[in-house]
């Protein structure tokens, strides 16, 4: 073995702590970077990537099976402008109930499902992504886009024979072509008596970039089928707009975490390697004295840094890819896209960058040390430069503190560059924690404000099994059946002991000048402001004719709070004054909130379909619901515990934020660990002297831990405002991208006590990082420490 090889081998083997720390730092940094990079990739135009991956349909059309034959519909694939097509697929819409073995109460009715018969999901247009379970292989099996978990039995109680199916998988179509899929042979069994299943065609268009392009394509395919056969269509642009609006809320968050992860990774690995090589200056002096050239020194230390780093990088890539699976699955849930793995180029870029960072920092540090004259390196390497930190030591000695603590407080000032790196590490770690805590709180509030349904009890229409269902929820262009008389229901609710507040919600639609399609109108019997609604401007409606409007509708009509706009209900004008801007992203923000009596003149038969009840404090909700349910059943209603607001997306984001924060804190802790290891090792002889003078192990721990207290506090003091500022920038950006103004309550999530606690987080990160070296300092034998060079 050459001299160089011997030096590298002994350096790696004998300096085990540093070898392990470099490997660990590289491991964590690469893991974090793979995750962060994957998040950045996943957050870049998620709809477009998923749409491209699924070979999505630019246009999906539903034809009346009774008016157009299968052959006629299939022929539409050859219409001008159609580049590729799939179908026809048979389509039915049915309302399932939960089977007897479900976790939730058996018989509970689920929303109606658009069920498509497809034998094979992964070919042609709209290659549906299976995210869980498997594809249906025979009648009796169904794959859902969302809802009941795999294994659940669903019963179609409206159909003869009450056919049942088992959920065997969950799949996602970016083109949103169905809510459920079965094999084609299962469709007849799921078709209502006398009805003919619809026929769905999926098209990819040669020209698809604009609404008019897609409209031209629709006109072309419609012209090939008998008149009136087209029941409905969906443009990919509508799906894209909806998806982009939804994901826009979360993209900046994940991008921020991704960037933080990358910065921390670079800082951590760079700091560790630079510190490790810098600490070897004395050894470099010895090598130079033995005849090593500066070039040989650089090569030796490149080797010593790269060998453990390579191990860490390799393990980090594996761990990053493994960890990315659940994280990207969660991300795809958030984005509503198909699941994606780590892009191979992310692995390649991260590995290359990690090697480059390690090599560059090792090269720089060893080049600097290698260029010193041997005698200088020997002098410099023995101890921190004399004079550095002396003022701090003198000042600390005057502090009325136990001497071990004042000794420790002064130590970091002997190495200003390392002190700066450690402070930066703590700043990033604390900022990440502060940001994560703020985002978690904000997301909770966004979700509460978005669902604005914090009531304890929901009262809605019920029907015994076998009766026709109520049909889909109100949406643009459709109106639900009216419910029972509001006064009767309100009286029944008010009569129940334990009722706190309650309101009924009537839903209808209206046209608003300047807005294409219908706008959803939610008309309330009573004040609903307690149910989680948040205003971004103005006040709540008090009188008839006053409305609240979400930002997107306000923007669409070019109005502002205080303006009067005109709703049109079946041609009857309803002039209303906008008194407030409310945060809502439902129906893409195309909603109007008002008192019920605002709408009664235009729509006298309008009645609430649903009610929400807030139970008084201390009242048992389950008991209340049971009693209220019995009271409203005769009115054709059912009371149940309100489960709204338990968003899976929110839970997923919370888990994601928690995991990423944990990783960032671990990377920060490791950076501190390395710095304190270097500092403690450098001062081991000094430690030996202290111990020889009577310093106890506990006092040795106090010295090491107190050496991180100041920069932990300073890092926390700088990091928390940085994290809060980042939160203050990110949140409005999230709202801006989503086209909504976020209510102040979403932005103001930090309280003085939480800021103080977060500030202490810097200290916790620093102390956790310093704990191992402190224990080592306590354990080292005095004689050993005194002998150490």
């Amino acid at each position: 073995m050459t001299g160089l090889g011997t030096v590298v081998r002994s350096g790696v083997r004998r300096r085990r702590v540093q070898t392990v720390v470099i490997a660990l730092a590289a491991f964590l940094a690469v893991t974090a970077a793979v995750l962060a990079g994957s998040l950045l990739v996943a957050s870049t135009a998620p709809f477009d990537r998923s749409f491209a991956a699924q070979h999505g349909a630019h246009l999906s059309a539903l034809f009346d099976g009774a008016r157009a034959s299968e052959a006629q519909v299939a022929a539409s694939a050859h219409a001008p402008g159609v580049a590729e097509a799939a179908g026809p697929f048979a389509v039915v819409t049915q309302t399932p109930s939960l089977g007897p073995d479900a976790e939730t109460p058996a018989g509970m009715e689920l929303p109606p499902l658009t069920i498509v018969g497809r034998a094979e999901p992964t070919r042609g247009v709209d290659r549906v992504a299976l995210v869980e379970g498997r594809w249906a292989t025979g009648p009796g099996e169904i794959v859902l886009a969302e809802g009941a978990p795999v294994g659940t039995r669903l019963v179609f109680a409206d159909l003869p024979g009450r056919p049942a199916v088992t959920v065997v998988g969950r799949a996602r179509s970016t083109s949103q072509t169905a809510e459920a899929w079965v094999v084609p042979t299962a469709i007849p069994g799921l078709t209502s008596p006398g009805a003919t299943p619809g026929r769905q065609m999926l098209y990819r268009l040669a020209a698809h970039g604009s609404t008019s392009d897609v409209a031209t394509g629709l006109a072309a395919v419609t012209s090939t089928v008998p008149g009136g056969a087209l029941l409905g269509s969906r443009s990919w642009l509508a799906s894209k707009e909806a998806a982009d609006r939804n994901t826009a809320l979360f993209v900046p968050l994940l991008v921020a975490f991704g960037l933080l992860g990358l910065v921390m990774a670079v800082l951590s690995v760079g700091g560790v390697v630079a510190g490790a090589v810098g600490a070897a200056t004395y050894r470099i002096g010895v090598l130079r004295a033995l005849g090593f050239t500066p070039g040989q020194v650089v090569r030796a230390y490149l080797g010593q840094a790269l060998i453990p780093a390579a191990v860490g990088i390799g393990l980090g890539v594996v761990a990053g890819n493994l960890l990315a699976v659940p994280i990207l699955t969660t991300t795809s849930e958030v984005y509503g896209t198909g699941p994606s793995g780590v892009a191979p180029w992310v692995d390649v870029v991260v590995v290359a960058a990690a090697v480059a960072v390690v090599a560059a920092t090792a090269w720089l540090a060893s080049w600097r040390a290698g260029r010193l004259r041997p005698v200088e390196a020997l002098t410099v390497g023995r101890a921190p430069a004399v004079g550095r930190g002396r003022s701090a030591a003198a000042l600390a000695a005057r502090l009325p503190l136990p001497r071990p603590i004042s000794l420790g407080l002064a130590q970091p000032f002997a190495r200003p560059a390392r002190l700066t790196t450690m402070i930066a590490t703590v700043v990033f770690g604390t900022a990440a924690v502060a940001l994560a805590v703020g985002l978690a709180a904000s997301l909770n509030r966004i979700e509460a404000a978005r669902t604005h349904d914090t009531a304890d009890v929901a009262v809605g229409p019920s029907r015994p099994p076998g009766q026709p269902g109520p049909g889909p929820k109100a949406g643009p262009g459709s109106r639900p059946e009216p419910g029972p008389d509001a006064a009767t229901v309100r009286a029944a609710i008010a009569a129940r002991p334990g009722t706190g507040a309650a309101y009924g919600i009537a839903e209808t639609t209206a046209a608003v000048a300047g807005v294409p399609g219908a706008v959803e109108v939610l008309a309330f019997t009573d004040d609903p402001s307690w149910a989680g609604y948040e205003l971004t401007e103005g006040r709540w409606f008090r009188d008839p004719g006053e409305v609240l409007v979400p930002t997107p509708l306000l923007t669409a009509v070019g109005a502002k709070v205080g303006d009067t706009i005109s709703l049109s209900v079946d041609g009857r004008p309803v002039p209303v004054r906008v008194v407030g801007e409310v945060f809502s992203t439902s129906n893409e923000g195309m909603q109007v909130f008002t008192r019920l009596d605002t709408m009664l003149a235009a729509e006298p038969g309008l009645r609430p379909r649903e009610y929400r009840v807030d139970v008084a404090d201390g009242v048992d909700v389950a008991g209340y619901v049971a009693a209220l349910d019995a009271a409203v059943r005769p009115l054709g209603l059912r009371a149940e515990v309100n489960r709204a607001g338990q968003s899976e997306v929110l839970l997923a984001l919370g888990a994601l934020t928690g995991l990423l924060t944990l990783m960032l804190v671990a990377v920060a802790g490791l950076g501190i660990l390395n710095a304190v290891v270097l500092q403690t090792r450098e001062r081991v002889r000094e430690l030996g002297v202290h111990k020889a003078l009577g310093m106890t192990p506990r006092q040795a721990v106090a010295v090491v831990l107190s050496s991180v207290v100041l920069f932990g506090l300073v890092g926390g003091a700088l990091g928390v405002p940085a994290g809060i500022s980042l939160h203050g920038v990110l949140l409005p950006a999230m709202g801006h991208r989503a086209g909504v103004n976020l209510p102040q309550v979403v932005l103001d999530v930090y309280r003085p006590w939480s800021v103080a606690l977060l500030g202490l987080g810097g200290l916790v990160i620093a102390v956790l990082g310093a704990l191992l070296p402190a224990l080592w300092a306590a354990r080292i034998r005095t004689a050993t420490a005194l002998r150490t060079e």
């Binding site: 921190p384 001497r403 020889a692 003078l693 506990r698």
Partner: protein
């Protein structure tokens, strides 16, 4: 009653020959014992054992009535605070602390009040001729002055034993004489002194007894013919 009592002490590092092999030795209060021997003979190991910096593999070490061979690190530290002052060949002063801060350190570690520690430190520096250097950093002092500071630090807690490991080994002859005179004076005051050295002249000048160690064993143990100059008040 002896202040130091070693019985059948063995100490071995790794797989090599024993650094100390069945050493039995007693030191009475007020003695000045020079431990002489060539490099690697085991004299520093002996000093480390007496200082509680190391533990024997076999045998017992009792100093000032304290059995050291079974003490943990914390108890060893408390023992050193109470009974031992150490002077090293290379001073082992902390470069980023002033002379005063170096000297008061053992007292502060032992929990002595700051006022009392500084009072005692000022008296020690005065008696050792270092008062005008109290605010200086060790790097600005001569070798002899640094070793005097180290002696002051070693005396700070009024130790039962003063252990000196080659105290003049890093000094020029004038400074060496200065330090040896100081040690002699301290012993004359009643300070028990263990001096590890390979300097026969220093041993003859400072010690009342000379123990020679060769290959980890006590080769000879005999009184020295040390001359005793009149003692100065150093404590």
């Amino acid at each position: 009653m002896p202040v130091i009592e070693l019985r059948g002490v063995c100490r071995r590092y790794d797989a090599g020959p024993p650094a100390l092999d069945d050493v039995t030795l007693t030191v009475e209060p007020g003695e000045a014992v020079a431990v002489l021997g060539p490099s690697g003979s085991g004299k520093s190991t002996l000093l480390n054992l007496v200082a509680g910096l190391d533990r024997p593999d076999a045998g017992t070490v009792t100093v000032a009535g304290v059995r050291l061979d079974g003490l943990g690190e914390a108890a060893s530290a408390r023992y050193r605070r109470a009974h031992v002052g150490m002077v090293f060949q290379f001073f082992n002063l902390l470069d980023d602390l002033t002379v005063t801060d170096n000297v008061v350190l053992p007292a502060l570690l032992a929990g002595t009040s700051r006022t009392e520690a500084h009072r005692r430190c000022a008296a020690l520096l005065e008696s050792l001729g270092l008062a005008r250097h109290a605010a200086a950093y060790p790097g600005r002092l001569s070798g002899g002055q640094r070793q005097r500071v180290a002696v002051a630090r070693a005396l700070m807690n009024r130790p039962t034993l003063l252990l000196a490991d080659e105290p003049t080994g890093a000094l020029d002859s004038a400074s060496g004489e200065d330090v040896s005179r100081l040690l002699t004076e301290l012993n004359a005051e009643g300070q028990t002194l263990i001096l590890v050295t390979h300097d026969e002249i220093l041993a003859a000048r400072c010690a009342t007894r000379t123990v020679r160690i060769v290959d980890g064993r006590v080769h000879s143990d005999e009184p020295s013919a040390a001359a005793r100059p009149s003692a100065g008040a150093v404590r």
